[in-house]
Assembly symmetry: C4
Homo-oligomer: 205 residues x 4
C-alpha cells in the first residue's frame, strides 16, 4: 500500500514528459517507412518490372498509411489530455511510459500486416494491438481526469468521455474479429476507426 | 458540415506541433544515410575494390544530397510559416500531420532513385513525390494565411505568394516528365528546384 | 591538474542537455522494436506457421519489454537528478555523454539476449551492461550532489542515497552470475531489478 | 549579389534551430549502434562461438566509441557557439544545415571503418570526413563571430580561436595520411583528436 502511494507523489514538470513522448511519436511515425523496401529488380532499367514491384508493395503502403494516421491521432489526443494535467506525478509518468512502450511497438504489427495482408492472424494482431494501445491511452486519460485535472477544467469535461472512448477499442476488436471472415473488411474498419474522435472533445461550459 | 467546423476549433499551443515536426524532420534527414550501405568486398584489404564499391555508390550519394537539401528547405520554410500563425487549431494539426506523413515518406523515393538512377519510373516517382510534398506544404501555408495569421502580419504578406509557390510544384513535375527522355536532366532539375525560395520571402512593409 | 579544472567551468543551460538526452532516450527505446523482425513464412496465408513464428519471437518480446522498462526508469531518474542541478558544467556534460553512450548501446545486448536467450554469455553480457549503465548513472548523480546541487535542495537529500543505488548494480551483476547456472533465473532478476527505485526518493524535510 | 544579401536577413528564433540540431545529433549518435550486428552462430548455445563472434566485433566497437565521442564533442561545441549568437539568420541556418548534413553522414564512414579496419582507404575516408565536418563547424563558428555575436560577448572571444580550431582539421588529415603506412596509428590519432578543445574556450575578460 505504501509502495503504491509513492507513485502519487512528485510534482514533475510536464515539459520533459512531452519532449520524451514527442520524440517517441516522431520516431515511431518515421520508422514506419523503413518497412517500404526498394524492390529488387533483375533488370534495373526495366520500367515494367519496377512497376510490378511497386504494385506488390501496395499492402505495405496501405498499412503504412493506416498506422501513420493512427499514431498521429494518438499524438493529437495525447497533446490534448496532457494539456488537462496540472503537473506530472510518478503514476502518470509510468502509465505514460507503458503507453509509449506499446506505441513504439506499432511498427511490428504494421510490418506484419503489410507483409501478410491476407493472413487472418496478422490482420487480427494489428487490431488487437491498436485496441490495447487505445486502452492504455484511456488509462492515462482517466488517471489525469481523476487525479491531476487542472482547477480551470473541473466541471468542463464530458462526464461520459471515458465510456465513449471505448468505441475505439470496440471498433479495433471488431476489425480483429472480422479478419477471420474477410481481411478487406478488417482493413476498412481499421482505416475508419481513427476518424472517431479525430478532433478531441471541447470543454463544456 | 458540423463535422468540418470542429476542425476550426481549439487553440492549441504551437510548441508541441513544432517539437513533433522538428523530430520528424530530424529523423527523416538522418535516416536518409541508412541507404548508404557499406560495399561488400571479396578482399577486405583491397583499396581498389573498395574504391570501385564507393564509386558505384555515387548515385546514392547524389540522391542523398538532393533529398537532404530538399528536406532542410521544407524545414526552414515550415519554421517560417508556423511563425506566422497565432496558434494551432485541429485543421492545422491535421494538415501538418498529412504534410509530415509525406515528408517521412521521402526516404523511400530517395532509396529508389539511388538504387535505380537510370530507371525512368524511379526518377519520375521522386519528382512526383516532391511535387506532392510541395502541394501539401502550400496547403498548410495557405491555411495559416487565411485563418490563423497573427494580427501583426496582416497586410505584410505578398498576396501572390501562394501562386508563386507553385513554381516548385511545376519544376518537380517538369523533372518527372523529363526523366522519360533523359534521367540526368531530371537529376539536375531536382537539384536546382530547392534553390527557388531557399530563403523565405520577407514581410512587405 | 589545470586540464581537469577546466571541466568544472562553464554555466551551461540545462535545457539543451535535457533535449539531447531526451532525444537519445526516445530513440533508444524506439529502436528496440527494430529487433522484432517479421517471421519469414513459406506459406504466407498459413495461420499456423505465423503462430509458430510469433511464438519463436517470445524471447525477443521478453528482452524488448525488460529493456524498455529499464530505459524508462533511467529516463525517469535522469529527469529527477537533472532537476537537482542548478546548471550544467563541462564535467556534467561529459559524464552525461558517457552515460548516454552506454544507454545508446543497450539495443545491442538486448538483441543478443533476444537472439540467444539460452546462451549464458549473451545473458551475462546483458547484466554486465546494465550494471555498468547503473554505475555511470550513479556517477552523474554523485557529481550533481557534490558540485551542482541547487541551494534549495541542500540538506534535503538522503545522505545514503548513492550507497543505496549500488543495490541495482549488485542485482544486475547477480543476474549476470546466475546466468551460468540458470538463464531463466537471470531473466527474472533482470525483470525485477528496475522495480527498485522505480520511484525516485523524495527530499527529506 | 542581391541573392546573397537575402541570406543575411531574417531574425529567426534559435530554439527551433537548436531543437532540429539536437534531434540530428541524438539520432546520429544512436544510429551508430545499429552497425553492431548480433553475430550469427551455427550453435546458438555455444559460449565459445559467441565469444569469438564478439571479439571479431572489436573494430566495430572501437569505431563506434570514437565516433560517439566525436559527435558528442561537436554537440557540446555547437551548444557553445550557438550560445554566442543573438539570433539566427538564413545564412546561419543554411550553414548549420550543411554542417548537420555531414554530421548525419558520420554513420557511413564509421561503418566503413568498423567493417574494413585494415583497409587504408576506409581508414583514410574516416579522417577526411571528420576533417571536413570540423571545417564546416569552423565555418558556422566564424560566421557567428563575424555577423551574429551577442553584444555582451564582443571583445571577450579569443581572436585566434578560428586559427586554433584548424589543429583539429590538421590532426584528422594527419590520421588520414598515416593510414597508408599504419592503420593502428591512424586509429590512435582519431581517438586523440577529440581531446583537443574537449572543453570550449572560456570568454576572456
Amino acid at each position: 500500500m505504501r509502495f503504491l502511494e509513492r507513485f502519487a507523489r512528485g510534482e514533475l514538470r510536464l515539459n520533459r514528459l512531452e519532449a520524451f513522448s514527442d520524440g517517441v511519436f516522431a520516431i515511431v511515425v518515421t520508422l514506419l517507412v523503413l518497412e517500404l523496401k526498394v524492390p529488387v529488380l533483375s533488370e534495373p532499367h526495366s520500367v515494367r518490372e519496377l512497376g510490378h514491384g511497386l504494385i506488390e508493395l501496395l499492402p505495405k503502403f496501405c498499412s503504412w498509411l493506416i498506422s501513420f494516421v493512427i499514431v498521429c491521432k494518438f499524438w493529437l489526443n495525447h497533446h490534448h489530455i496532457i494539456g488537462l494535467a496540472r503537473h506530472a506525478n510518478y503514476a502518470l509518468i509510468w502509465l505514460n511510459s507503458i503507453f509509449l512502450m506499446f506505441q513504439s511497438f506499432i511498427p511490428f504489427p504494421t510490418a506484419l500486416l503489410g507483409e501478410y495482408p491476407e493472413n487472418p492472424l496478422a490482420v487480427t494482431l494489428f487490431g488487437v494491438v491498436m485496441a490495447f494501445n487505445t486502452l492504455l491511452f484511456i488509462a492515462v486519460h482517466a488517471y489525469i481526469l481523476k487525479h491531476l485535472l487542472k482547477a480551470e477544467f473541473v466541471g468542463t469535461q464530458d462526464p461520459h468521455i471515458i465510456r465513449k472512448s471505448f468505441v475505439g477499442v470496440g471498433s479495433y476488436l471488431a476489425g480483429a474479429a472480422v479478419a477471420w471472415l474477410n481481411v478487406e473488411a478488417a482493413f476498412i474498419l481499421y482505416a475508419l476507426t481513427p476518424l472517431f474522435f479525430i478532433v478531441p472533445p471541447q470543454p463544456q461550459r
